[in-house]
Structures are given as structure tokens and as C-alpha cells.
Symmetry: C2
Subunit: 206 residues, 2 copies
Amino acid sequence: MTNQHFSTKDRILSAAEDLFAKSGFAGASLRQVTSVANVNLAAVNYHFGSKENLINELFKRRLDELTAQRTKSLEQVLKEPSITLESVLEAFVAPALTLAQDRGGGQSFVRLLARAFAEQDQRLRRFVSDNYGHVLKEFAKSISSLLPHLAKEDLYWRLDFVSGALTYAMSDFGMIKKPPTLSEDQHRQNAARQFVRFAAAGLRAP
Amino acid sequence: MTNQHFSTKDRILSAAEDLFAKSGFAGASLRQVTSVANVNLAAVNYHFGSKENLINELFKRRLDELTAQRTKSLEQVLKEPSITLESVLEAFVAPALTLAQDRGGGQSFVRLLARAFAEQDQRLRRFVSDNYGHVLKEFAKSISSLLPHLAKEDLYWRLDFVSGALTYAMSDFGMIKKPPTLSEDQHRQNAARQFVRFAAAGLRAP
DNA sequence: CTACCATTCAAACACTTGTTTCATACAGGA
DNA sequence: TCCTGTATGAAACAAGTGTTTGAATGGTAG
């Protein structure tokens, strides 16, 4: 009953995203993927070459979008007359949370991302560092200039903690139960607000 | 060349810890495990019944120890005349960091723990919540009483961020390179100090 | 010694894995 | 209409999976 309006490639990508998020790369088989996608087993190797390559294209599709949103947000913030630590963090977080609440599979992808990082997947780390490292550096630079008294070493530690808190919280998104009185959008804004406050205070620690 | 001084059971547990940390539960096979452990393949099912059960005993062995250390540390802190947020956090973190730097496989286990949480493994979550939940509640209660002005909802969000930062940072332990001038013990104390400062500030956020 | 028991071992079990093969369907261009 | 290249299909491939079996081992108690 999968939507036949989408191409075979897209149906495979979406099904893979869901299943890999649920069971891991090794845990979900191509037969499960193609079954959910309503596609022949051979289609994966035909369109993607291999399982490994399917995973790469999975990440590329989402990370290109996420990184683009982040650069756009950061650029806007840097244009403003008074730049705050909070606004920079917001520019970093908001696109990720939007993705985490996207109904088109973004939810799965965010969990997948958290999992991939926990897996210490060298392949993925290189991939992220090579393709999106410059954006992360931009954020680090902006944050650093807003905390001029902070030693470089302290900054690195804290940025590591911030990424951890974000990754973990996003993968857990929904564990902190959304009260029925809040819309999803309100819940997301709430999460962003909570995170930005926490992270900013942590970064500013005495 | 695995140390033959240890029993078959222990050799299996250690090898499994390493391999599961490296490749995931689905990614590492029992044949790899038994090969590294220098043990016959059938030994796993003989001593543990199944791969699933092997994983459970893996967690039990380490978490029992970790939780015991944490309760002991917390009890000592609560005995002191003046209790600070920092000392409670320290009681929570120090045993974990000790484990993260233990040469007897603790390093692998910490990464395994981070991975298991990212996997959103329901089985493990129930296991942790059932067996060690009360200790976590103790910490939450202590922290809550030290932040009387903080709304319950805010506290929950921030505790979630704190666990995330810790889990992630520990699994990444060593990514922030230890300078050669520091001993491992100094590096660990440094990490603990950095984390406690960051987490305390985040929890105290305005 | 004998009998017993827990342990180890090689081999096989049934099943799943990613990948390949080759036949088929079907479109658009000459 | 015939040809061509892309896409899909069912089936098979070799390799790897967790688990089971039944025989061999070796130490211990009677």
C-alpha cells in the first residue's frame, strides 16, 4: 500500500530510513526494505549498487538539506546588529528540530543519525567531516567569538557536550511526552527553547 | 593468545563486549566472538543459552558494579554538611568515567552502552529502568531539592540533556585527545571537572 | 577402577544474508 | 515496425547466521 506516486528509488530510500532507524544497518535486511517499499529485491542493487552505497545516499539526501538550512539560518543571524549566543544556538538547532518533526521520514532520519554517531562509524564520520565540516566550523567560530574569555580547550569540551545533549535529546524526541494540550509545532518550539537555554548556560559556565 | 587464566564464560563476555562495541549486536557474530575468545562456538549457547541472553548478562555484569559505585558515592555526598549541585553530579559521573577508562573492557562497555541507548532498544531500556531506575530517581530527587525554584518540567528537560551530554561524551572519550603531558588519571579528572561545570551551569540556567 | 558430571568439540541443521543472473516488460526514437 | 536501453521480475548463488546434536574429554566422588 506504499504510495505509488513516488519513484522506486525514493520508495527504497524512505523504507530504508525507517527500517535502519528501527533496527540498525546490520539489523535490517534488504529484503525487509524492499518488502516495505513494495519493490523487487534486485532493485536495490540496480539503483544503488550495494547496501553500503544505499546508506551513503540516504545520508546525503538529508544532510545536504539540513546543512543548507543551517548555513542560511546562521547567515541571517550574523547579519543582525546584536548577535547573541542564544541566537547562534537557535540557528543551529532549529533546522534539526524541524527535521526531527518532519512527517516525511525526517523523524526516522534523526534517530538514524544519533545511532550512526553512537556507532562511532568511521565511514560516516569522515563523510560528515568532509562534506559538512566547514559549516560546523563556522558555528564554532561564531560561538567562540561570543565567548572571548573562554579558553580554547574549555570551548572544545563544552561544544562536545552540547552536540551530545542535542543528538541524544533529538533521538529521544518524544520520550519527554508531548502534553496533549500542545501542538507539535508548539512542542518543537518548546524543545528548542529548552535546549538553547540549557546549552547557552552550559557554555557560559564560570 | 587470549589469557587462558580466565574462565570460558569470562573470555566470552570480554570478547563479546569488545566486538559488540565495535560492530553492534547484529553486526558481530557469535563466530567472531568465540574466535576472539579462543572458545568453541557451541560454548556460547551452552553457557548463556542464546545470543540475546549473552547480551543481557553482559549488561548485568557491568551495570551492577556501576550502580553500586554510584549509590555509594551519592550516600557519601549526602552525608556531608553542605551539599552542592556539583558534588551530586560528581557522584554520578565519577564512577562512569572510571569505568570508561578501565583497561579491563570497561572502555568497550561504555561505548556499548551509548550505542544501546541510541538504538532505543526497548528491551534494554526496560532492563535499566527496572533494575537501576531507583538509583537514577535518587539522583533526580537530590538534584531537584538543590534547585527548588526550577519547575518540574524544566528539570526533566535538563536532566535529559545532561544524560545525553554524558552518554555522548563518554562514548567519545578519547576524541578530545588526551595531551601526552597528562596521565590517564589526570585526563579523567579533567573530563569529570569539565562535565560537572558544564552540567551544573546548564541545570542552573536562568 | 568405575561412574558420573560438567564441559568442550566438530559437524550439521535450517535459515537468512547481500549479490548476481537472465528473462521479461515496456517505453521512446528511427 | 523494429530496435534500444531502462526498469522490473523470479530465481538462484555462495557465504554467513544462530542454534542443536551427539560424541569425546577430563576431572571428581564413591
